[in-house]
């Protein structure tokens, strides 16, 4: 079962992927059974705005509904849209927490997409990030399905260091963290040591072409700690396959990385390779 962890859908100044027109072909070309999707990090909205129907968590949910069983949608929330918690504060509401509730319970999405560099918050910020994950943990118990937190973990700022991600993943042991890009080339020397041993964290090899950075983790923990995505629409299937081939020592290992691990962790029903396709095409 092929589960691809990383496809940005929607329309922003940098991305144009109208799922209604392109997703079916994308799944077919990539041999993908289940695709994880989320909004463009740079232009996300909570609710779909009138000026751009291809943004917002509602849009992600509508695509998930259209491709029932083939798409796992992740929500994006604005981490800074929360109350100030000190005594005497004049702002009490937290739209970010309300949106998590709406996205998971009402819209049926499967977790959060977070980009600590794009949205400028430390992934282990106790005031901003942890309340979101506390709420996500509560909501997970309510809906009874395992939720994911897909983190842009390129190691490209202090905000998304392997240490920060590992610390937060350890604190929220009920959630499943996908460490997207596995810290890229910047995580050399730390990612294998500090992040790979966290049980509820998968190293996501999306666009991570430098095997040396996480090879130590692969040797120590084996293929069970890994998953992969294309990083579409800009990434390619060819690159994804090459990255997996760099790690997997046989077909079984490749299948685990390409989807088996995530299917296990999320307890997804197995999809036969011939199963098709859109529920409401």
């Amino acid at each position: 079962m092929i589960i691809d962890t990383c496809l940005t859908i929607g329309v922003s100044p940098m991305v144009e992927f109208v799922a209604e027109e392109e997703l079916e072909g994308w799944l077919e070309r990539g041999g993908i059974d289940v695709q994880v999707v989320f909004q463009p990090d740079e232009s996300f909205h909570h609710e779909t705005p009138s000026w751009n129907p291809f943004l917002g968590n509602d849009y992600i949910a509508s695509v998930q509904r259209d491709f029932d069983g083939r798409v796992l949608g992740l929500a994006t929330v604005h981490p800074w849209h929360q109350a100030h918690r000190a005594a005497g504060s004049r702002v009490f509401e937290s739209p970010a927490l309300d949106e998590i509730e709406r996205a998971i319970v009402e819209l049926g999405l499967h977790g959060l997409r977070m980009n600590p560099i794009q949205h400028n918050h430390q992934f282990n910020n106790a005031v901003v990030t942890w309340p979101l994950l506390e709420r996500l943990t509560e909501v997970q118990a309510k809906v009874g399905r395992r939720l994911m937190v897909s983190v842009h973990a390129y190691g490209d700022s202090l905000n998304n260091s392997p240490d920060a991600i590992a610390e937060t993943a350890r604190r929220f042991g009920d959630l499943l963290f996908l460490m997207q890009h596995s810290a890229f080339v910047w995580g050399y020397g730390s990612v294998s040591r500090v992040a790979a041993s966290v049980d509820n964290l998968l190293l996501d090899l999306s666009t991570m072409p430098q095997r040396a950075v996480v090879w130590e983790a692969y040797q120590r923990h084996g293929p069970r700690r890994f998953c992969v995505g294309t990083d579409g629409p800009h990434g390619t299937f060819e690159v994804k396959q090459a990255i997996v081939a760099d790690f997997a020592r046989d077909k079984t290992e490749a299948e685990l990385i390409l989807g088996g691990n995530l299917a296990d962790r999320l307890a997804l029903p197995v999809i036969a390779p011939t199963t098709t396709h859109r529920a409401s095409a």
């Binding site: 144009e16 751009n52 400028n120």
Partner: protein
């Protein structure tokens, strides 16, 4: 000539990190000896329109503070440059080609035309864009240039330019400033210590870039720049509420020494001249 003290840099409003109300601002100015304060929204969580859930963010909030004391406050707007559709030339889908609205352009019109603000605060690190990104930043500058002419008001682009990402490099600031020579760009933090070696031949070399000494706490690194360009190139801010006026004044004095006339220009004269206020 005596000039008002114009402080370039104050964050106003409420988010999980900051809690600063209008009353706090007046106290800040009175105790810090600030005649005119440039203010803008909190960087984290800023929005275009003030929402019901938080009346202390949004450009409407900043405009309301400016209206309360227009002789003491210069308000800057914020826009999220990513809230634009893709440029028409690169759109593929017919449905995407049909997108007609651009909330960023609408908000720029509102900021300058309706709310009476004096330009933009931009933070390429926090909002994560290259300051010379032609898809999203150049259209903003084009519109501001047009608005400046239409409303005959000197605007400023106030940039977090601490050299702390690729997004706000001195080269990127210089590139954009060169392309939009009618706008005044204020490079806040002067590249800090990360970019100082390249500031001189990049953004400082552009005549429409002013170097803002806010929290440039190692002024010895800026001495060469000061000797080349003189006091007219500089302004100063406190970075309140995070830093103090005491630090601001120490930075200015450390760089300038005992030249009172130069100090008056850096502490407010240069900005006052640009905005057409004070000076006697």
């Amino acid at each position: 000539m005596s000039w008002p003290v114009v402080d370039s840099h104050f964050h106003l409003g409420v988010n999980p990190l900051v809690h600063v109300t209008v009353d706090d601002l007046w106290r800040w100015m009175d105790t810090g000896g600030v005649d005119v304060q440039m203010v803008f929204q909190v960087n984290e969580g800023f929005v275009h329109r003030t929402p019901d859930w938080n009346p202390y963010i949004g450009n409407d909030f900043i405009a309301s503070v400016q209206r309360e004391a227009p002789e003491r406050v210069i308000g800057l707007g914020r826009v999220n440059p990513w809230h634009q559709p893709p440029p028409a030339a690169v759109r593929r889908s017919l449905r995407v080609r049909a997108l007609s609205a651009n909330p960023v352009m609408d908000e720029l019109d509102r900021i300058v035309g309706e709310l009476g603000l004096w330009g933009l605060k931009m933070h390429p690190l926090e909002t994560h864009y290259q300051f010379n990104n032609p898809r999203i930043i150049f259209p903003v500058m084009e519109r501001l240039t047009a608005l400046q002419a239409e409303f005959d008001r000197k605007l400023v682009i106030f940039i977090h330019a601490a050299g702390d990402t690729l997004n706000n490099s001195p080269e990127a600031v210089a590139d954009t400033a060169r392309r939009f020579p009618e706008l005044l760009f204020i490079a806040s933090h002067c590249g800090y210590k990360w970019a100082v070696p390249t500031v001189a031949h990049t953004m400082a070399a552009e005549p429409n870039v002013m170097l803002d000494l806010t929290t440039a706490a190692a002024p010895g690194m800026l001495r060469e720049l000061y000797e080349v360009h003189g006091p007219e190139k500089f302004c100063s801010g406190s970075d309140g509420p995070f830093a103090t006026n005491r630090c601001k004044d120490a930075i200015v004095r450390s760089l300038i020494g005992d030249d009172k006339q130069a100090e008056a220009l850096v502490r407010g004269g240069n900005l006052a001249r640009h905005f057409g206020i004070g000076g006697a």
